[in-house]
Symmetry: C3
Subunit: 150 residues, 3 copies
C-alpha cells in the first residue's frame, strides 16, 4: 500500500476484507503515503521530531477519514459526493472497512524506511502495525499467491 488516497485505500481494504472472508491470509505493507491510512487520529505526535517532520505530520492526513480522492476530489466536494453516494447504497465507510480488516486478522506492517524518513513513530500508528524492512516484506510477498501495488 503506497498510495494515500481514499478511493485506493477503499479498493485495497475491500479486497483485504473479501480475501479474509475466503479464509485467505492477508498482509498489508504500508509505505510512503500509504502510512497516512494507519495513523491513529487519537494519538498525539511524538516529541522527538525535527521541524520538518512536525510540519509534514501536520500537513498530511491523519487516519482514514482525512484521505482525499485520487481524482475529482475538487477540494473535498467530490469526496463528499462519493461519501453520500456510498451512504445511499448503505456501503460501509473506509473506517468500517479498516476496522473490519483489523478484526478479521489482516496483518499490518509499516515500512521502516518510510517511517524513518517521515518521522512517524510506531506509537502514532494503530496498534496492529508492526514496523519491518522492505526485505522482510519481500520475503513474505515472494511466497504469496498474489501481490498488488496499490
Amino acid at each position: 500500500m503506497f498510495s494515500g488516497d481514499y478511493d485506493k485505500a477503499l479498493a485495497a481494504l475491500v479486497l483485504a476484507n473479501s480475501a479474509r472472508e475466503l479464509d485467505v491470509e492477508v498482509t498489508m505493507f504500508f509505505a510512503f503515503w500509504g502510512l497516512f491510512l494507519v495513523r491513529d487520529p487519537e494519538k498525539a505526535p511524538s516529541d522527538d521530531k525535527t521541524a520538518y517532520e512536525k510540519m509534514f505530520g501536520m500537513m498530511t492526513p491523519k487516519g482514514p477519514e482525512e484521505l482525499h480522492l485520487s481524482r475529482m476530489n475538487m477540494a473535498g466536494l467530490g469526496k463528499q459526493m462519493l461519501l453520500d453516494m456510498m451512504e445511499d447504497d448503505k456501503t460501509p465507510s473506509l473506517t468500517d472497512f479498516l476496522n473490519g480488516a483489523r478484526k478479521k486478522g489482516v496483518k499490518f506492517y509499516g515500512c521502516k524506511l518510510s517511517v524513518d524518513v517521515m518521522g512517524f513513530s510506531e506509537e502514532e500508528l494503530i496498534p496492529e502495525v508492526e514496523i519491518i524492512t522492505a526485505k522482510e516484506y519481500l520475503r513474505d510477498a515472494l511466497d504469496s499467491d498474489m501481490q498488488l501495488f496499490i
Copy 2:
C-alpha cells in the same frame, strides 16, 4: 483495473492483447474509475438513477476516447499531442486495443460494489461486461499466474 486514465488503460490493454496473442487467458476486473473505460458511449443512461448518480454519470468520461491522461493532460492538449505521436507511429488507438481485447476473448468483469455506488447499470456498459463481487474476482485472481493493479 482501478484507474480511469487514458495512458494506464492503454498499458493495461496492450498487455491484455499481448497476453492473448501468447494464448494466455486474460481477465480484466473493472472497479471504480476503471469502469469509465467500459461504459458504452452509444447507450443512454438508465432511468432509475438518483440525482447524484445522474450528475456523476454526466461529469465523468463515457468510454475509452473520453479518458484523460494521468499526467501532462493539460486540458486535453497533452493528450492530443500523445494521440498525434501515436498516429505518427501508426499505433492503434485505445478504442482499437479495447476492441482487439473484446475480439480476442479477454474476459471483462465489473465490480458490483463500484457499479452500485456509482449508479451504473450493466446495460450502460459494453455487452461483454459481467458484474461480479470482489470475492468472485479474488477467487479467480488467486489462481492466476500474474495479477496487476492498474
Copy 3:
C-alpha cells in the same frame, strides 16, 4: 514501471535493491512515463526526432533527479522537503538506488511501443536498458514469483 514519479520510482528501486540482496532475480520493464527514470541526463537527444518528439523530450524529466513527486510536489517545494528529510536520515538518493540496482545486476528493459511513440532511442537511455516488446516482457513476467505495476 509505468509511473514517472520520484516517490514511486524510489519505492520500485528500494524493492529492486532489497530483492537483489535476497539473491532474487529482478527485472524492471519501463513503459510510458517510467522511461524518464532511465533517460541518461548526459546524453544528447538523437537527431531523427519529429517536432513533437523534440518538444516532448524537452518538456519531460531527464533522469532520476528531475522526476516530480506524485503528490505534494508543490512546484518542487514538497520534493525538496522530502529530499531534506531523506538526507536528515542519511537515506540514499534516488540516483544512488538506481546505481545500486545497476551494480547489483537488476535487468533493465524498455517498452518498444512506448519508446517508438515517445521518440526515445536506446542511445538516450542508460546503457543497461534493452528494448523489448510487451510480449517479451509478459513471457518473462508470467514465469516470475511476483509482479508489480508501479
